[in-house]
Symmetry: C2
Subunit: 405 residues, 2 copies
């Protein structure tokens, strides 16, 4: 027997810890490894020797951790050097794994983490080391290729749809209402903004307009549409992705506060406020509110989707099984077997096919006007949003457990 290790990377989600617990549970059931280690703060922490033994914690602690949002093992946005540039970090990491008798490494993350997983798997193989590297998908953005969807997305979608419905009601109480703009995350893809279409009152979608990065944003058409709708309804509800851009590819919210993260992605925000000012300046109305849902989209466990929690858990569970079968350099992916009733299965995709690739919201699921989504898109989204697990409603305040504090 030998040991395995799991770590988390990139931005948090509500269900990322469930995947870790899925792996722990799989090892409890299948008794493949002696110990399940966790690296704190991803690759960065492991390189610093920050390793704990997950299998030593009580069932109660592990179960609390399962229903705790955000990366409870800590995260990192550490970008390893290219193999061609230097193998130093790779050698160091593999040394640490060898020293702990680790035969399988699991990384829960998005495209950048799958890049790391692929590189490590490749290097281990090249150097003749028998260590398996398996990626477990995680991102609220739902932008990983090949997998039907990503764990983390369903809960974010549910939080967005639910709060869109609630804030729609809040913005509708007066005789003379104004214009309400909700800004969702989604730097490159519109999956999160699109999920707002699930917010319905009396069977009718409450969002009048939904703008995605995949559809070129035209300011004049936007103001024209909003003006007409406001004249018609005396109220307009708008959902906008932070990443919308004009036909030439410029981000609409290219502001002075713009910065770039370590992977070179532009850090956005503030498009809601920008559109608010635009509407006011155009003279349509002064009663405009903009709400940025912000990080709540990726940590609102109090509004999680039980299917999302289950699938995140199962993805971790499957990862251990796949490693035990001898696979390495792959990511666990989800296949939708049936939509009604919903069912899914798991399979493997080469991690380097996931890395640095983006699954965009399909153009054919955007309406002709470029300001809404189709029924087909709603059929895809709806099953991913399911009820809240009853365990999350049993105490007044949640009992969270993390390992990185």
């Amino acid at each position: 027997m030998a040991n395995c290790i799991i770590a988390q990377s990139g931005g948090p989600t509500s269900v990322i810890n469930s995947s870790v617990v899925g792996l722990v549970d799989a090892n409890k059931d299948l008794k493949i490894f002696d110990k399940v280690y966790a690296g704190l703060n991803g690759i960065e922490g492991i390189l610093n020797g920050n390793i704990i033994e997950l299998s030593s914690f009580s069932d109660e602690e592990i179960n609390s951790f399962r229903y705790t949002p955000s990366s409870g093992l800590g995260s990192c946005r550490y970008k390893m050097k290219k193999l061609e540039e230097s193998t130093e970090e790779y050698d160091k990491l593999l040394e640490i794994l060898k020293a702990n008798d680790i035969k399988a490494f699991f990384y829960v993350g998005g495209n950048d983490s799958m890049d790391t997983t692929a590189k490590l798997g490749k290097y281990a193989k090249e150097t003749g080391l028998d260590i398996k590297f398996i990626g477990i998908p995680k991102t609220i953005d739902n932008d990983l290729m090949y997998t039907d969807h990503t764990p983390g997305f369903g809960s974010a979608a549910k939080f967005i749809a639910t709060t869109v419905l609630e804030t729609y009601l809040d913005s509708s109480v007066y005789i003379n209402n104004g214009i309400f703009i909700v800004e969702t995350m989604g730097r490159d893809t519109g999956w999160l903004a699109a999920s707002s279409a699930l917010a319905k009152l009396n069977g009718k979608q409450v969002a009048d307009f939904i703008y995605l990065p995949e559809s070129a944003f035209d300011v004049d058409k936007f103001l024209h549409d909003v003006k007409l709708k406001f004249e018609e309804q005396n109220q307009v509800y708008i959902v906008v992705s932070e990443g919308i851009r004009t036909a030439d590819g410029t981000f609409v919210a290219e502001t002075s506060s713009q910065a770039h993260d370590k992977f070179g992605h532009a850090q956005l925000g503030g498009v809601g406020m920008y559109l608010k000012n635009l509407i006011i300046q155009s003279g349509i109305t002064k009663r405009v509110k903009a709400l940025e849902l912000g990080v709540l989209q990726r940590c609102a466990m109090h509004c999680a989707s039980s299917l999302d929690l289950e699938e995140a858990h199962q993805a971790g569970y499957e990862a251990l099984k796949y490693a035990n079968m001898g696979h390495s350099g792959y990511m666990v992916a989800i296949k939708r077997e049936s939509n009604v009733p919903y069912s899914s299965s798991y399979f493997l995709v080469e991690a380097d096919k996931i890395a640095n690739n983006v699954k965009y919201f399909p153009k054919e699921w955007i309406n002709e006007e470029g300001n809404g989504i189709t029924e087909e898109a709603i059929e895809y989204l709806a099953p991913l949003v399911s009820s809240l697990p009853s365990i999350l409603t049993q105490s007044p305040m949640p009992n969270f457990k993390v390992f990185n504090k």
Copy 2:
């Protein structure tokens, strides 16, 4: 037999419709009035003749309405003229009530609504009309005098405490974390910001600093405290009320976008962003995030407190009973009978004593440093935040019902 009418006024809460259903249920049980009417959009709607018959809707519709956030009868911020200035609106309103054989009028609202209730009650009495006027408290701000707390506050407090805990985890995942600022509502009082103290991890409060309007805000001390804490923890979590002001009474967030509502209150917002910029400019760190919870605080039914929902319902129930006993010109208030286990009872307070009065967060519940609250305050707050009713977790998306659309 005769009829009664209920209407809602002012800003919405998550539980304001529960009070309406409480009244409907009381009339079902006690059979006091023939019909329960609802005025849509408060006084403003009634003056326009927008009246529906609530008692004609099915039990299922009424039950959905009970668990729907925001003012489902519509609201208004209509300020009636002073009686001395003109009795025209008063006469018109009373005429409409008489025409519908209405013997009791119930107004769900905050201090401004109690002002209206008191004036109407006084005028009806003066003109010899036998119509009872009873106010039902509602405000997330918890700033009404005499009542132990207000329906609507517990659910807002729960949403704030829960999201503070979740965003604390989200802001703690890296080795080098930054400073996170959450801005709560609370123009004049700190009740909402204070409720963030209920957010605890491993028994320890996660907010490092909590700033309330009742404590003079000192920019230099703030930056000093934040700097020290950041050096100590490499992370700071700050909660700030939108209404904080300096020693001379100036709002910290007095910005160019400032406007005034119809009652002359300054409309605030943006203090979180202001403090964020202050911290960055002071050179403590550039990693600062500010999140404005916004209107979600008053409509997040998906995170409601069941005690709050129950008490809102009971306040409506009691209102009908009090009107039937012959009272008029009063507001139903809550008395805390016991803290552990929590129990409460209901009593009446003259509506004009509530009107235009503000219950501030007690100075003795603020710590000496002016940046946190005491154990006594936490003991007051804790029982008001209770678990989510299971009815709200049974479907993937909520089934809301409103009457104003």
